[in-house]
């Protein structure tokens, strides 16, 4: 899966988003996300989550309310250096960039995709357990993580049931 390195809520961003949705089909996007909960696909969890978040901010008015007045900068990094992603919320927009961002409110360093999934969104979310086991380390304001966790959890609850 490729990251959407662009801003939403611009016409261009929205058009590309709709392209993705029409190309893959909305069902398939949800399916990618749902499949992350299977262990073999956990590595792609962050990518799936951010993609779906971007889509839902465009499509779902209720969900978009989460970022109406929100400024937040997140840095996600895998311990092995394979993944370095910045996520910025500002002016009712969500931007995802590959690489290091300036002045993140919080940096989340995770051992692997599975540990990140367990940390943020698994059915038995285990933020504290992940931190105690040092599967995930954070630096910065945890309140931003809690908000992100809520937005991720909302997506999880929106997953259409198969059939």
């Amino acid at each position: 899966m490729v990251f959407l390195c662009k801003e939403l809520h611009t016409m261009k961003g929205q058009e590309e988003m709709f392209d993705i949705i029409s190309t893959k089909g909305r069902e398939e996007v949800w399916s990618d996300f749902r499949n992350c909960f299977d262990s073999e696909l956990a590595e792609e969890f962050l990518q799936s989550l951010l993609t779906l978040m971007q889509i839902m901010f465009v499509l779902n008015h209720q969900y978009r309310r989460n970022i109406n007045k929100f400024n937040g900068r997140y840095q996600f990094r895998s311990e092995d250096g394979e993944v370095t992603i910045g996520v910025c919320f500002a002016n009712k927009r969500m931007k995802v960039v590959e690489g290091i961002i300036d002045n993140p409110h919080i940096t989340i360093t995770f051992r692997n995709g599975r540990t990140l999934l367990d940390f943020i969104i698994s059915p038995r979310q285990d933020i504290l357990g992940s931190m105690l086991k040092h599967d995930v380390r954070t630096e910065g304001n945890l309140n931003y993580l809690y908000k992100f966790g809520f937005m991720a959890k909302q997506l999880q609850l929106m997953i259409p049931q198969p059939g």
């Binding site: 309310r65 989460n66 007045k69 929100f70 943020i120 038995r124 979310q125 285990d126 933020i127 504290l128 357990g129 931190m131 105690l132 086991k133 040092h134 954070t138 630096e139 910065g140 304001n141 945890l142 309140n143 931003y144 809690y146 908000k147 966790g149 809520f150 991720a152 959890k153 909302q154 609850l157």
Partner: protein, 820 residues
Amino acid sequence: MTSITLDDIGLKDFTLQTLPRLKELRSQYFSRRPEICIERARYITKYLRYHDNASDSPEIRQAKKVSYFLHRKSAQFHDRNLIAGSTTSKALGAPLFPEFFALTLWPELETVSDRKKNPQKLTHEEATELNLDIFPFWMDKNVLELTRTRFSNPKCLQLFENLVFFIAAKAGCISHAVPAYSFMLEHGLSGMIAMAAEREEALAAATDKKERQQADFFRAVQISLQGIIAHATQLADEAEHLARVTNNSEDAAELIEMAAICRRVPAGPATTFREAINAIWICQVGIHAENINMAMSPGRLDQILYPYYRRDIAEGRLDIARAIELTGCLWLKIADNVTMVPEASEELFGGAGTVPAITIGGVDANGEDAVNDLTYIMLRVTELLTIRDPNVNARYDYEKNSSAYCRRLAEATLNTKSVPAFFNDKANITALTGQGETLEHARDYAVIGCVELASSGRDYPASSSIMMNLAAPLEMALFQGKRPITGEEQIGPVTPDPSELASFEDFWQVFKTQLDWLIEQAIQLNDYMGAVHQEMMPSPLLSALFIGPMDKGKDLIQGGALYNSSGATHIAFADVVDSLNAIEQTVFVEKKYTFNDLLEQVRNNFSGLEGEKVRLYLQNHTPKYGTEAPIARKNSRNLVQHLFNLYQSHTNYRGGPYRPSYWTMTNHAGLGGISGALPHGRKAGKVFSSGMTPVSGAAPELTACLNAVAELGGELVPGCWALNIKYTPEADVTTMSEYFAQTIEAYFRAGGQQVQFNIMTYKMLLDAKKHPENYPELMVRVSGYSAYFKDLNEMMKDELITRTQYGLTDGQAVPLPPLQ
């Protein structure tokens, strides 16, 4: 000196059958499910967003904020309780304090109502309000984030956020206090407001900065107390309204009486037992509006309320049944709130209550027997209700209190299987006078929360400021300043490789180097957070209910109390002592293993056949804390002495000392679960021992165990400890009560400060774990507080199951059955 007038101190004629109101309220209590209450979060956010004046002093800002809430707090009458007022808008509420950790709930706003473990109900509308309106306001404004910003994300804060070294409780509260309610009952809040106004007036012309601050403080006191009176008025209004609309004349009469009481107290002085009880409760509600309910303890209620009880009894306004009923109503009110616990924290704090402590018995300020009729009434109520909160603690002076009293305490413990906890007046008064408290003040100590000691209304001990994981510095000593769980990161100072050390004394020095460094980090963070509390969370309302602040013109958080200290408690004490014993014995005395051998086994978690062989040797053939082994006695004494010296050499942000203590709540389970193997044969991930209790299975003889713990008591443990003992229930309760009381007395005479019991067997607890539906009300002592067994996390349940079980008659440990 007081005298007992009861014919039967057991009050056995009074049961839930003869007290139908208490039976009904108790039944309702157990049927309620916790609901999250957002009322306080809503109004204080609104106040700060739209009305706050940043140019006001911190005390006035806080007073206005709290008063704004109290003026708007809903008046609720959820049931037929005779006491008006509730801490939250829900029948069993979990209030949110966004100044602290409320935002940890954010990720589960949509799921907390239905989560598997300890769900807390939250409506969709409330969740939406929290998500979109309340929580966003607090993103950068809670104590933790203000500390991070103000002190540039210091190393000590990062260590705390690692969670595996120490817990800095100020991020979640200070609370932990016992107010002085007698003055309030005598003068009423209106009288106290008048005093504060007079003192403010006297400073009206002051230009000196300190005097201006004092004037601001007195102003803040008035604003805060007026908030409580406003809420009492709302309660009266609502009671009158309900009386008008009800069709039941009996209910209407009760509501009218409650309304009349709320119009009289706490604004005016209390004149009856019932007024005194309701005045105290409404003030507790006010305290909860200002500070989160973590161990906000009402204190020595049998002493405070006794004059009102005695007068009412003498004048025929009250009988024993009504006194029991009113006391029971207060107990159930105190139990009307729980802590909001995010699912993620269940591992550490699952099942914990809010631990408001009530203290009964002991001696008075003159050192004479203070046990009175009300002591026994409170004991009977505790026995009849057997509910988690309040946490009832019994003081016992083996020279002044009667043996009948001790036997009655024993009997109540056998009947409830877990409460009350026992506190030794001799040792605890010594501990407090050792801290510079006058003898009269020390004699008036009450228990806070789990086990901590405070002279009632004079001591602001912030007793849970630091929770230090002692296993962390031990591992850092073994691995040159690193811990296996934090990998290659250099945490503490680089100390010598243990394998190069020539003696146990050298290793002890290395351990102390790491321990001292870590404690200094924790103290540094506590002082940083204290400075943030001074700006953000003063307590003018609570201060008004203390002795000291009104004389000094200074808030508690600025050092207004007579005695100012910060408490530091310790996790894994017994495991660390036993590890030191094992190192000393096997590496340096017997030379059975080299330090390298031992380290290798610890690193490998005693894996393989050889590892298991070594582990069994360490577990079964090294000196254990809780026995008479000289090495174990020496190491436990040295550790307690060292911690005392270290803490006492530091002065906190309020100008007081740090006081060590030994209680663990459920942290010994959570932190044990993530800690590596230790040299005494404990494998990685196993729970630590609780409080001051020897490691499970390590102390086979009860007498030796109690003596080994008791000899550490007194001046060196000013914050007290929690010792957990499990007894096999025996058929002959009378004989068992006798043995029980004798054992308590012997332990106290040897110096033991505190002990608490679970009267249950391995088998019963195993069954309760397997079939929780059969034990819905099973209450157990954890480490300083009570919990319902079914609410505890799995690790904590296992810890309770495996705690050493002793036969009281033969004083021997019962073998632990094979665990499936």
